[in-house]
Every structure is written in structure tokens, then in C-alpha cells.
């Protein structure tokens, strides 16, 4: 006897999932006191890996970044906690990777580093590590407000074939499971992160593109303004939380 055709079954499963999501509370921002870093939601072993600098593979990139930097440390303490920040020349906020590349091109007459290249990740990790333990502190003023609003709108916009918004998972369903994994609140507290699944360090933009592909949306290119707006919103949403860079995540 032929089994039921696969497609209607799959459509049924998707409908059930969608119904479950629709039934949950409407997107509300997470109250300050209930905010949790992904760190708090991950397993004991992964936390131990992040906490011990000789077990945290992100430190390999930090050391690479230090040798690339070849400068006194301490000069960039706190910088990572303030990005994305407004750049007058661009007329919009730029993120830490873009700032590093801007400095290379403008001040050092060096070629820009490719997104997700080992050297750019290493420099970002080296800079971000100097903000470890400091509270996230992005500046929202008249210049950055429109970009924050755009990022917030993107976070709440349903998109992709699955028609999911970021908010549906990360505001409403955090702490519950997506397949075997705990859904975090999506606070960018540890970037660049060493993600065990990637077996490498990766940027926040890589993570965002990953999520977009997960909702079966077409991901923005690296460096797209839409991604930076989203980064700005996420950093604002995590305002005051402590940076852990380089974080380790499952």
C-alpha cells in the first residue's frame, strides 16, 4: 500500500508548528531582569570551556590578533562594547569588523580583510577581548535612532519560507527547545564566538546569516546595512549586559 505523499504530511507538520507559535504570547520585549546571556542557557561543559582561557579555542584567535596588532594593549579597552557606532563618513552605524577594516584602509594603507577571514576574526577577537567584563554600551542618539528602529523592525518582521520573525523564537520561546537545542535570548554578548558547530570562530553577521537561512529566508550579504542595523538593535537590546568575548557557544 502506498504511503501518504510526503509533501502534505510535511505541510501538516509545518502547520502544527506554526499554530503552536501563533498560540504563544505575542512578541513582547524581554524585561531587563529576565535577560540571560546564551552562556547561562548552555551546558556545564561548554561554560567550563569558555571560562578557562587555556581551554577556550577563541583564545587561539586572540593570540593571533595580538601578533597582528603589534601594539600596546589597553588602547582599545571598551571599544567592542560600543559598536556598532555611528560613522560620519558613511552616514550610518558601522560594526567592529567594518571599523577595523576602515582603519586598515584609511590609516594603514593596507588592503581590507575579507569577511570571516582568519585575520579579521583574530583582530576582532583581540579587540573584543579587551572589553571582556565591561557592560555593553551602544550610543543611541538622533543619528543612530533611525538605524536602531530599522533593526528593531527587522527583528520583529516575519520572513523566509517558514515566515518566522527573530522575536517569535528569541523573545517568546527562549529557554524552550528547537530540536535538541535550547533557544537563547539572542544577546550578542560573546562575539566573535567560537561555535562548536563551526569548529571555528565566527562573527555576529555569520550568526545572523545562519539564522536567516534557518528560516529559509535569503540571507543578506556580509556587510549589508540590514545586518548592521540588526546588530545595533541586538546590542541595544543587550545594553548593560557584560561582554564575554571570545565566547564559546554550542
Amino acid at each position: 500500500m502506498p504511503g501518504p505523499p510526503a509533501l502534505p504530511l510535511r505541510r501538516f507538520v509545518v502547520t502544527v508548528i506554526m499554530a503552536a507559535i501563533a498560540a504563544s504570547a505575542v512578541a513582547a520585549e524581554i524585561p531587563r531582569a529576565e535577560r540571560r546571556s546564551g552562556y547561562d542557557l548552555m551546558g556545564r561543559e561548554t561554560r567550563a570551556m569558555q571560562d578557562d582561557d587555556t581551554a577556550n579555542p577563541g583564545m587561539l584567535f586572540v593570540l593571533d590578533g595580538e601578533s597582528l596588532w603589534k601594539k600596546k594593549t589597553g588602547a582599545v579597552k571598551g571599544v567592542a562594547a560600543r559598536y556598532p557606532a555611528f560613522d560620519a563618513r558613511e552616514g550610518r552605524p558601522i560594526d567592529l569588523e567594518q571599523r577595523i577594516n576602515r582603519c586598515r584602509v584609511d590609516r594603514q594603507q593596507a588592503p581590507a580583510l575579507a569577511w570571516e577571514s582568519r585575520d579579521l576574526l583574530a583582530l576582532t577577537a583581540y579587540v573584543a577581548r579587551q572589553s571582556r567584563g565591561l557592560p555593553i554600551d551602544v550610543t543611541i542618539d538622533a543619528r543612530t535612532q533611525p538605524f536602531l528602529d530599522a533593526g528593531r523592525a527587522a527583528f520583529h518582521r516575519r520572513q523566509g519560507q517558514i515566515n518566522l520573525s527573530c522575536s517569535q523564537c528569541h523573545d517568546d520561546l527562549w529557554g524552550r527547545k528547537l530540536a535538541g537545542s535550547v533557544i537563547p535570548q539572542a544577546h550578542p554578548t560573546g562575539y566573535p564566538i567560537y561555535r562548536l558547530e563551526w569548529q571555528s570562530l565566527g562573527s555576529l553577521q555569520r550568526r545572523l546569516r545562519n539564522c536567516l537561512i534557518g528560516t529559509r529566508a535569503e540571507a543578506y550579504e556580509f556587510g549589508a546595512p540590514e545586518l548592521v542595523d540588526l546588530e545595533l538593535y541586538l546590542m541595544w537590546r543587550a545594553q548593560g549586559m557584560k561582554l564575554e568575548s571570545p565566547g564559546v557557544r554550542p
Binding site: 578557562d52 587555556t54 581551554a55 569548529q199
Partner: protein, 106 residues
């Protein structure tokens, strides 16, 4: 470029059991993956790790394709005398990294 992180206690009492932690930078490409065009990505792994304590081998490991990138190896030994611990990783494509750490035993 940084290639390995080693954590050995700086000093220990004679006879004390000490924990040694090592982390080495390596992609550990399995040799089983293919590119989008179907070409095999050649294997590139670390094959062996050896630790010597004042010249005497105290720990050895063979590594295989199923081991994740940036292998983290931790083990214990007994602090017998002051001296040098040497760590060596060797693998495909002539990969070889050697680092050492000193320990004072009193």
C-alpha cells in the same frame, strides 16, 4: 602566529599530581568532506602528540579524523623534579609544532 596554548603549573610539591592542559590550533580536516563541486578535500589532521618531561616520554596520543578542530588534550602526571616539559604535535603536510614549559618542583 599563535599555534598552541599550554597550561602547566609553575611550581608543585615533589610527588604532587599535576594537571596539564594543551590546546593547539589546527583545522583537523577529515578527508571525507567534499567541495560543492564534488572534489574531495584532502585530509589534513594532526596524527600524533607527544609530551616529554626532562627528555623522558610521559604521554603520547594518536589522533584520528573524528577529532574536532583545535584539539584540546589534558592529562596528569606526577611532579618528580624541576625541569622542562616539551610538547610536540605532528601531522599531515609536514605539520609540526613544538612548545615547552618549565616547572619548579620543591
Amino acid at each position: 602566529m599563535a599555534s598552541a596554548l599550554i597550561n602547566v603549573p609553575e611550581r608543585a610539591r615533589r610527588g604532587e599530581i599535576i594537571e596539564i592542559k594543551t590546546l593547539v590550533s589546527h583545522p583537523m580536516e577529515t578527508g571525507y568532506r567534499r567541495t560543492q563541486l564534488g572534489a574531495t578535500i584532502p585530509r589534513d589532521i594532526i596524527r600524533s602528540f607527544v609530551c616529554t618531561y626532562n627528555g623522558a616520554e610521559i604521554f603520547r596520543a594518536e589522533l584520528h579524523p573524528a577529532i574536532a578542530a583545535n584539539p584540546f588534550i589534558t592529562f596528569t602526571t606526577v611532579a618528580t623534579e624541576s625541569g622542562t616539559l616539551t610538547f610536540q604535535w605532528t601531522g599531515d603536510n609536514g605539520f609540526s609544532v613544538t612548545q615547552s614549559a618549565t616547572i619548579t618542583v620543591g
